[in-house]
Subunit: 406 residues, 2 copies
């Protein structure tokens, strides 16, 4: 079975039975293919007698995007599997356990998280997750610090950079986030009613300048091993547990790209609240919850990063240089704000959207949410290099609402 | 002969005879081992009947530094050979031709440049090289632009970053340039008479801050494929020809590190002129020549880089963003100035020195040269992030002399 081919359900069960210590000997297993078939096959394998279940995720050698299929390296399965294993070591309990990785089959066997929900859906359903900021800030501080030149041997880090060179997946980000939304690209995907917004983006030279600087950082700044696609659709959650999944975009890049991704997706939900909440008061309340979560994510990330630095910094010159850590964290914050802005803009005008906004049924409410997200996104991009505090980001999110309502 | 072992002269000649199109059939070859035996064997092979000659350079699996030997990867021979070939494509005529690379033997066979002199020796001998700025600026503009995300396919660039991951050689730079001179490290090597200068470096927090930022750039900023060790000892020169050799430190790093290296070495020579010139007038004249060369290097580099950008820029967003190229070049200039400063400081206080200064026979003149080099170096480090023009660097070199004389 070892030569690469897409598995069928019978084969998936056979593989599951070979795992040691997962299912009881002679267990009766059933398989359900639950992937969307675009990038991966995802088999949910469960024991009909016990509650035991696992996931087999197999990469497909192509991606289906806008109906077309293009070839995509199976090496992304290796990258995903190695990133998951490493993240699990650095942030125990915050990613699914990996039971097995088969390079030939581009197959990762991992913990089943069916008792969690996808966080994007949880937010759309008006759930609150009081432990989320604590969990995600731990994930961010641990994975970013300990894969950077501050927190690991600087020669080993270079070998890790090499292992996570990821051109094909990075290209998706470079095109869809840092290029296409700023020109009249075929891949762009926006509603006709906001064509004025798209055209304004295409002609905004000072915005292009800021995005070009952020794009350059994405291309050149090998600061830490990123998840690379840390939106609320890459997070499984329930009240007491957070699990980060799908790190197939992992590569060495700027820390702020991961932190900005999660903040952007909370702000995209923030922009959509008029639809999901039943009245103005609950809309405001939920928005306040989201902004507090964002503030907590940054504040807790920063506090944890400072503790790791104090205890584990491997760079003696950086450690002894007065003000270096403050300056480092200020730059991470600025990147976070800039990348958050880029991630918001692309979800409105670019190829891939988010359900938080696309599923708003009333056209006028949807348009308003799109304009709000763009307004916040652009203001964050413009703010990035001047920012000194997360409060400035929060203020932009709040003031964009007043401006649109005026 | 293919398993790795250090070659003897007989074997070197045998290999030379197998090269196609280099020596006449049946040629009588003689070999001379001319390496310093610290890092590499270097065989000069010549035909006793014709003027034809070549160089065989074989990496040794260790480095001798301060009497000790430490193991060093033979992979540096691959990196050197691949870098030479690539530089030769991008900057034809400015590096030695490579006739053959043998991975097993860690051996590169290349053009003999015995009709050139090492530039450091040429400057010490008061020679002037009116074409040097033209040549080196072409080398810098062509190799840095066309290996960056501006001048090559951005996915191919990532694969090239991977090919040039170079942990061991980078560690030498990280330790000897960006760490040891700023603390009381065992590897430091300075004359007792300037202990006050060394101690001032160790306690200078604001300087540590600037060096830590430059160190961070060296560690994380994968901007272009660098030569990585571009001092005047890595340049063979004669009046009409410049050849850059020894790129075994090549890796993806900040452009300013290469440009700063060459400028630093011109400024180290600048600091030593009282000894090499016969009187004050010729000292001043030669210094003026060196500063004009530095100005020309930057000015020509910038002009050529702008032409390459206009004709070959592969990044459409960067290209369309108003002011992006100006900002990019301003940052390269700032890095150049900062790295030049670091490279000067380390040659006075750190492990490896330069003959320009060490060979000054009079102790007081030598001390003065060392203090001048440190003064310029530190002022460049402090200047780096504020600089907007190469004239500011030149002004620092000039004013440091007046301050020391006062």
């Amino acid at each position: 079975m070892s030569a690469y081919h897409p598995l069928n359900e019978k084969e998936a069960i056979e593989i599951a039975l070979t795992l040691e210590g997962v299912f009881a000997p002679g267990a009766k297993l059933v398989s359900r293919e639950i992937g969307d078939g675009n990038l991966n096959l995802v088999f949910h394998i469960s024991d009909t007698q016990s509650s035991q279940s696992i996931i087999l995720k197999q990469a497909l050698p192509y991606a289906k995007v806008v109906g077309e299929s293009w070839p995509l390296t199976l090496d992304r399965a290796r990258i995903e599997s190695e990133a998951l294993i490493l993240e699990g070591e650095l942030a125990p309990g915050l990613v699914p356990k990996v039971y097995k990785y088969d390079a030939e089959l581009a197959l990762t066997v991992m913990e089943d998280l069916s008792d969690h929900v996808i966080m994007r859906q949880g937010l759309i359903s008006n759930n609150r997750y009081p432990l989320f900021a604590e969990h995600i800030s731990t994930f961010l501080a641990q994975t970013l610090f300990f894969t950077s030149d501050l927190g690991m041997n600087q020669q080993s880090k270079k070998l890790r950079v090499r292992d996570f060179i990821n051109p094909e997946l990075c290209k998706i980000t470079e095109d869809l986030i840092f290029d296409d939304p700023y020109k009249d690209a075929e891949t762009n995907n926006f509603e006709e009613v906001i064509r004025d917004e798209a055209q304004a983006l295409w002609g905004d030279g000072s915005l292009h300048f800021e995005v070009a600087l952020l794009r350059e950082k994405f291309l050149t700044h090998a600061q830490a091993l990123l998840h690379g696609d840390l939106h609320t659709g890459s997070i499984f959650i329930k009240s007491d547990s957070t699990k980060i999944i799908d790190p197939e975009f992992a590569y060495y890049g700027p820390m702020g790209f991961d932190i900005g991704a999660i903040i952007a997706n909370l702000l995209l939900n923030y922009s959509s609240r008029e639809h999901w909440n039943s009245d103005a008061a609950s809309t405001d309340e939920y928005r306040t919850y989201l902004l507090e979560t964002i503030r907590d994510i940054w504040t807790k990330f920063e506090a944890k990063f400072r503790v790791l630095w104090a205890e584990h910094c491997e760079d003696s010159l950086a450690k002894s240089a007065p003000g270096y850590l403050d300056d480092y964290l200020r730059r991470v914050l600025q990147d976070t704000i800039g990348f958050a802005g880029c991630k918001m803009v692309r979800r409105i005008v670019g190829l891939a959207h988010v359900a938080d906004i696309d599923k708003i049924t009333d056209a006028s409410t949807r348009e308003q949410a799109q304009r709000l997200a763009l307004s916040i996104g652009k203001s964050l991009i413009r703010l990035n290099r001047r920012a000194a505090s997360i409060e400035e980001l929060i203020e932009k999110a709040q003031s964009s609402i007043s401006v649109l309502k005026a």
